[in-house]
Amino acid sequence: MTEYRVKGRGRVNTGKPVKFTFDDRTYQGFEGDTVASALLANGVHLMGRSFKYHRPRGVVTASSEEPNALVGTTRGGKGRFEPNTRATMQEIYPGLKTESQNKWPSLKFDVGAINDRLYMLFSAGFYYKTFMWPRSFWDSVYEPFIRKAAGLGKAPTEVDPDIYASRYLHCDVLVVGSGPAGIAAALTAGRAGSKVVLVDENSEMGGTLLSEPSVSIDGQPAWDWLESAFAELDRMPNVSRMTRTTAIGYYHQNMIGLVQKLTDHMADVPEGAPRERMWRVRAKEVVLAQGAIERPMVFHGNDTPGIMMSGAAQTFLNRFGVLVGKAPVMLTSHDSAWYSAFDMADAGAKVVAIVDTREDVAQALKDEAQARGIKTYLSYTATGTKGRLRVKALRVNPVRDGKVGAAHMLFCDAVLVCGGWTPSLHLFSHTKGSLHWDEEAKVYLPGRKTEDVHIAGAGRGLWGVATALEDGSKAGADAVKSLGGKAGPATYEVADDRTGTGITQKELPTDRSPGKAKAFVDFQNDVTAKDIRLAVREGMKSIEHVKRYTTNGMATDQGKLSNMNGLTIASDALGKEAPQVGLTTFRPPYTPTTFGAFAGYHKGTHFEVTRKTPIDSWAEENGAEFEPVALWRRAWYFPKAGEDMHKAVARECKATRESLGIFDASTLGKIEVSGPDATEFMNRMYTNPWTKLGVGRARYGLLLGEDGFIRDDGVIGRMRDDLFHVTTTTGGAPRVLNMMEDYLQTEWPELKVWLTSTTEEWATIALNGPNARKLLEPFVEGADISADAFPHMSVVECTVAGFPSRLFRISFTGELGFEINVPARHGKALWEKLWEAGQQYDICPYGTETMHVLRAEKGFIIVGQDTDGTVTPHDAGIGWAIGKMKPDFVGKRSLARPDIVAPGRKQLVGLLTEDPKTVLTEGAQIVDDPKQAKPMKMIGHVTSSYWSEALGRSIAMAVVEGGFDRMDQTLHVPDESGNPIPAKVTGTVFYDPAGDRLKVE
């Protein structure tokens, strides 16, 4: 037993000692301890340094709103370090390593504390007023200096090896908080048969009852009652309980995010177990029973280690069996601190005094204090402390008729304060529900609701165990009723309930110059009462301005401790009531939440879907390099030993043009457009005319947006009078289908047409090259694919290698070409058969890069590369694809807009560099006069640019202002280093303009 541990108190397992380290020193606590309770048990209060002044700081709370005791933790091993962990929430386990933060060289001696001496300078808004002279110093000196000073803990440096999980959960009633109110709500709703989920952020449930063992409920001591209540809840199959589970955010329509910590308290973590799990709960009704948060008191030196919340001291004593001090002074304006004093006295502490700012308190309290020999000072203020690393004394003065009298010292080893209680309404605020100001209690309480939510207990400003139980049960019953069920609130017999009252106030009156007082409001961010008054003086009249100007409430506790004190002081300075000054909005998450928990499974290979074709595995086995295209990964090129991309692509191009290439086109979008009105539908959607396209023939189709710009294209085959096989670009498939459905469902519902995506029904293999037919013919049954019987731009249903197939004769390369569609499961088998048989023609697999080169040699555009969403069919030189006779089609009207028909639009042309060896950079800009000064007049840019093996020179496509009228003009393309590269404007068909290569017999 360490010297501050009290025998017979607390719920920690004294049978199970646990060793852990803090700043490399080993300490012992017990199973059930937090880092904070274990360190306190060892007499350690100093746990951190503040943000701005690096002042020594001790733990001030026993809960998740802790602003001071933030430590770095790791269980050892790579990548498991994390900063800013609350010592009050982190349970200890064997092997846990923790370290203090924001200090150098040591926690006890920190050079950064020099800032504290410059306190007078570092006032609110300091940065905005200075560091401006000389101007040049900002970038080079001041700003780097300021950034160096930033931050609390160190960033992790390794990749996190842990797994994070997520789960959807649907329930009738979600109860947040497992104090008396929450438990009562869960019991009532559970008994009524509702599907109930009860959650609490702590490692065990019970809330205040864990710190109030002396209360008895229905004749049982509080802790026994808890046991039986949990037992009953656990017996109900419709109720589940989750500890270490924080409700982080309240989203639309009763969706609540819960984060459950699964392994951070374990010495040995089970294989495959996630560290945290994000629960996305959809609850029909929500009960918020989050209790209230104790308010600090604002006075000079109120941040000295050893000063903490009185409720925290009570929790450390009763839940953890730790006396935070042996000679504490209580400083309060609320009865609850008196009870803490009594508990500590009863546990063997010598309570030096109870200092209360109120003029008087209930006689019963005074009697109990007297009975324990505790001095009491009523109508007193605190004006200072002694001690730097640990409080040694509290300086107190009487206040008579508003006048602060002579000071005297109360020597002590701890000061336990209570400035009142603030209902915890953070989640309620996430719903944008309104808060109303309770003039009497000086707190905000829940007002108008926007969701199906009930607030119970201290969250509604109610006080005491009996009231909480009653109110919680009522909330549970209300929830059941709004679900259409029946439930009456249960009643509870409560004895020894310690209810109380109190007041809240601004910074305490003092006999010192307020200008010199360091009376902290936001401990972590070092915001003092003086800073807040200064902000108001400088015209910051809304609490949002005060917050942003002083950073009050922006620390990692998000103002849980500081907002109300800050508001009280600001409104006092403004001479207004709090509601007129406002309240800063609480934002999710309720407490800081691990990124990993949000990312969940979406890490590495699961970060995003990677779609793979049926032939993908062949490409992988054959050494393909891949490129991501939309969600797909596509074979980019197939390098042989020692080849870079350019060598490989040159080889693939040559092989295809000279003999035979094979290409996996399975990613192309495919849509089945069928129904009696299919032709009419196609006429309205696409620019081209479809009426005269015969069955068994195919045509290039062009799709515009209603704004007249090119959206997508693809070859479309007519399978039957009432059936089209539409192909789209790889990335465009989902968009095109959605766009078609939109027009069909909402604009032309009268058309009898149905659309079905068949992208993944078919594997698509493209064969290109003079030997394409020679290879394919022997495999084909049920169709004659000879040149005359099966001309260019035809489609037929047949079998290929015995597989049912839709066979197209089309060419995206300018060579004799076929595209074979077979049911996806046969794709790889067919590929392998063709591959085998193709060896006699030196068949060459090629990827997307070669495909791009071959099509560019023929001047075929790629939507999204040669067009960019501002290009019309005419701009792209494919005006021929527009059905001139058609009255209307999607985008037609926009083509008549003034600036679309105006001269000087950018048009797609070919570019041939004067030096055939020079390959232009895709994206490079084009100018008329390379000698002009910057900013230069740019007349276009290079959209596609490749080395053409077939032509033995470079080729490029570009969009150029008035390009069609610039044929044979020489333009200039400045390269990376600005040297202009001369290039001649040409047509876009570089290779085989007559198209003879298609006419292979």
Binding site: H170, A273, P274, Y601, H606, R611, E760, A824
Partner: protein
Amino acid sequence: MNAPVTNFDAVTVTVLPPVARFNLRIAPADLAVASKALDLSLPTRIGQGSQQGDRAAYCIGPDEWLLHAAEEEQQAIAAAFDKVRTETPHSLVVISDREVTIGISGPAAVDLLSVACPLDLSRIPVGGAKRTVFDYAQVTLIRDGEDAFRLEVWRSYVPHVQGLLDVATRELAAGL
């Protein structure tokens, strides 16, 4: 495709053998014609299903049905519908290869699906089906029993969905 079969006592995940699968689009008024052609009366409410022997039909849209049958029946069924196409316009598209079916069964089946399916699974009736999402993938979820489901997943999304199911299965096995 032969995917690994992962399981522990509470849940089993398997890739099921292919079936003949169709997407049927037809005006509800003409439903009788379709029922006749399929020789199975089609359900009329979205989410409902009807089964008979190897044949099953699930209503997944106001004018959309997912049809299942034994592979060898594919051509016969296609032909039966083709006969009535001109007088009763509709669209029957073979999608046997578009999706791959993953079977998920066992006491923890619902938990496993809940890792990435946002639906309240308790509201999906046995014998019913729904198009929905599993993580980033669109799927059709079919319920065969209290703790037996099928996920029909577009072929190219299968590696992603299976990978997730694999991670989640190990997570369930860890018991936290």
